[in-house]
């Protein structure tokens, strides 16, 4: 049994699909794609898959992840095309990657979410811990940010840019300041890379 990691975006109207609805549509698309997926056992078998942490309804995303168990050899390019033919507008697979054995599970590494928050003409970056003690809710973080910025912020002004294992990993990709929200203490602070 191998694992495939899919990276997909959720843009436009697809941002209004709930986590559950998105899972259902990806399940359907996987079944249609011809990828030899492995099913769970039991009374109602489902594709054996895990998802990145749920995205709140109404939030778009540039890079969400799905891990699915497969059998046999996969042409990853073909798999991506097959999936995109079976997905609604707005859900689009950008990358299909066969994970070498030993790679950490999605749930182990997808621990921080990085968001862009549209604010008037500019935008801010928000980093949110999605698991562990400091885990925070996007709504709470936005409320705090709004106080900072002096005006309300809506979920529809937010796009999740990506998922990261640590805050340090974030700064390998971006420069400049990021708001970090600590769900445990409720503190919001501005941090920068080294």
């Amino acid at each position: 049994m191998k694992r495939l990691l899919l990276k997909y975006e959720k843009k436009g109207y697809a941002g209004f699909l709930s986590h559950r609805e998105t899972i259902r549509l990806l399940d359907r698309a996987l079944r249609r794609s011809g990828i030899p997926i492995v099913f769970t056992s039991g009374y109602s078998p489902r594709p054996r898959m895990t998802f990145s942490p749920a995205l709140p309804l109404g939030v778009e995303a540039e890079a969400e992840y799905l891990e699915v168990a497969v059998e046999g050899d996969i042409d990853t390019a073909e798999a991506g095309k097959g999936l995109n033919r079976a997905l609604p507008t707005g859900l689009r697979v950008w990358e299909v990657q066969a994970l070498p054995p030993g790679m950490p599970k999605l749930s182990k590494w997808a621990r921080y979410g990085l968001y862009t928050v549209r604010d008037g003409d500019g935008e801010e970056l928000l980093l949110l811990p999605l698991s562990g003690e400091k885990q925070g809710k996007l709504g709470d973080a936005l409320e705090k940010m709004a106080v900072f910025r002096g005006g309300p912020l809506e979920k529809s002004d937010v796009v999740r840019k990506g998922l990261y294992a640590s805050r340090f990993e974030v700064f390998e990709e971006i420069e400049g300041p990021v708001f970090l929200y600590d769900g445990e203490s409720g503190d919001l602070k501005r941090i920068e890379g080294e």
Partner: protein
Amino acid sequence: MTAKIDDFLSRELPGVTRPGRYLGIEVNARRKPLESGRVNCCLIYPDVYEIGMSNLGLSILYEVINDRTDSMADRAYLPWVDMQERMREKGIPLFGLESRQPLGAFDLVGITLQHELTYANVVRILKLAQLPLMSREREGGHPLVVGGGPGAFNPEPLAELFDFLVLGEGEEVIGEIIEDLKQWKYMEHEDREGFLEGCASIPGVYVPSMYEVAYRDDGSLDSIRPRAGAPYPVRKRVVADLNEVYGPRVPLVPLVESVHDRCSVEIFRGCTRGCRFCQAGMIYRPVRERGENILRDWAWEMVGATGCDELSLTSLNSSDYSRITPLCDRLSRELAESHVAISLPSLRTDTFSVQLASRLRRVKRTGLTFAPETGSARLRATINKGVSEEDLLRTISAAYQEGWRRVKLYFMVGLPGESEEDVEKICVVVHRILREGDEGRPAKGLRLMVSVSTFVPKPHTPFQWVKQMSMPEIARRHFILKQGLRTRRVTTRWHTREMSYLEGVLSRGDRRLLPVIIAAASEGCLDNWNEMFSWERWRGAMEGSCLDPAWYVERERYRQEVLPWDHLHSGVEKDFLWEEYMKAGRGEATPDCRWDTCTSCGACSSDMVEISLAKEE
């Protein structure tokens, strides 16, 4: 307008419940644009998305219309109240989900009438669309508002809203309508009335404005008079060979999980079991089965097109299909590899059906449901349900042996001639099942889900003349059952009495009810949602129109009485229905013409349509 609607959606979607209902980005959506050279149709289910997306009739029409080069079909459903509120506030008219064009921009707006409790929703739809409500108020380029579905067999309470309605099966007649409409559009919608009169000559098309209804002093109908050129009666459309037309082959994949979240292969139409309360069993006659190979290929095509995990073999009574065992064996063997489960939604109460269901359990264990309808042998004879208590026990025993521990049972109360003792028999049967359900021994661990509905007399059935039971009488029956079924092994589900009563008012209603529906719709809608339904609202509306609900519901009709749907013909003759009604009183059985002799009901006599069964291929 599209830009305005897009703007509205991006602003309002974050604040409404289940925004997935309003996106229109479904996989397999055709998204054909509206074009002046085309007949542009919008198909509407007058309830929320999750219910509407499960409707087979509309998905068939969606495919037929979009497959033509000279027409397109978009879809709309009734938005939930939070969205309705925002649309009204912002002046956004109801729009097609895919094109985001207002309903007024279409040439044809097709509304299906599946259930009486959606009638207020129909009014809401037209109001939200900002269209003139009544057919006579619409002119020139206003869309044609067309009705269909089982409700079209007595659409009288809503008739004046529709420019015309289609009786019976739509997949052939829609082409004829599109051809006529294309011509008329080319003529720049000249003489709307004349155009409608022309439509009346298409078989199956009913133009309500061409019939004059007169009433007597006692409130009953005096006559229904057709204007010159209008057919009397209007006969329903039937597709003679269902192997020639089948669909949908590439159905839409709902974004929000729908009530029946599965693909449907319709294995046959019609049912001739002859249950006397059942409207579907009368209006969809005769039985026409599809060939086994067509069904098998169709099933594969749909699984490939949707990635669905469950395929349903639908019909009014799927164990009756002539080739059901070989079809199920083959499909379940083949589809198991793709992890697609097969379900049979309507099964006969017999051990054969249990064996069939067992065969289908390869992928997923689905529930088992049977409909004994009543506990009393006398009433079973009245309604012509040829299933004995012993049959039911044998069936449940077989299911228990096969490992089922949860069985759903459907019962009805308020049947004609039903006494309280008859109702008590339901409790007796249920307890007997628990006590003897394992081949005479107690069925340990068996749980029963008992669903109790109220009998509502329907037009075009042998019981179209009978009085419906009053609410206090039904309450008394519910009480008896609640007392008698009080055990933790039985879960009960009740249909709300007031809802069944309203269903009774509307199902055999006449044109005088339209102001009532309009008044009720102005204060509410979505009546089949418990949290939205209010009998008070409807009673107030009836009072406002000086109409008595009991006159419609609790009144026995006499044989010669002109019934509001007398000008609409389902194929089954009124004399046959009356004869069946009389036999019901005597407790006489009428055999099923699928296996027995012809009952001369009339359904086969016209249009070369006759019973056709699948053969070994």
